[in-house]
Symmetry: C2
Amino acid sequence: MAPRTATAPDRLPSHPEPADIRLEAVLHACADPMRLRIIQALAADATPSCGEIGLACSKSTATYHFRVLREAGVITQHYQGTAKVNQLRRDDLNAIFPGLLDTLLASAAAQSGRTTET
Amino acid sequence: MAPRTATAPDRLPSHPEPADIRLEAVLHACADPMRLRIIQALAADATPSCGEIGLACSKSTATYHFRVLREAGVITQHYQGTAKVNQLRRDDLNAIFPGLLDTLLASAAAQSGRTTET
């Protein structure tokens, strides 16, 4: 197996500044069952890597969903060694849209509960 | 000008049952600046017709946006004579996703205020 390349600074993904986070982009990022699941997993465990969130999709699809969340300002992604670690931007989101993230998480939980009941 | 045709029962638009309203669809419906504006207008005035919400777009585009909101379960549309009247599904949404609509409205207001400041 070939050795994995070292993490170069230019591989660090870019993130929107808090002032550039738009509500429409946040809602679009959350308007997908897989991305909702990612947000729920990040809310339950502060810093899982992409691989630690068991998503039923290909790696490239998972990478795409994480990127949508990052570009919308919902999560940060940074490298720890060769692993990409994801975190919810709780403080930024709460400062810009107070209560939105918690309400989205509660709504997702309510829907999960409703789906389980039926 | 040709007379407008009468409202036939089969022209009544369909609406999802509360049990069929999905969070992803609600968020997608709200993830658009024009549709956010419609929701804000409906929150401020209970039952405006499509024409009473001054949207800077063509009639067909406005019709499309109202349809997205209706099919997601965010609004109801019904005819009063020949006018299509729109209403937020406040009670249904609050029962399914408590606090979501108010938080979305507050977030949209926060963003409008932020945009005005800059």
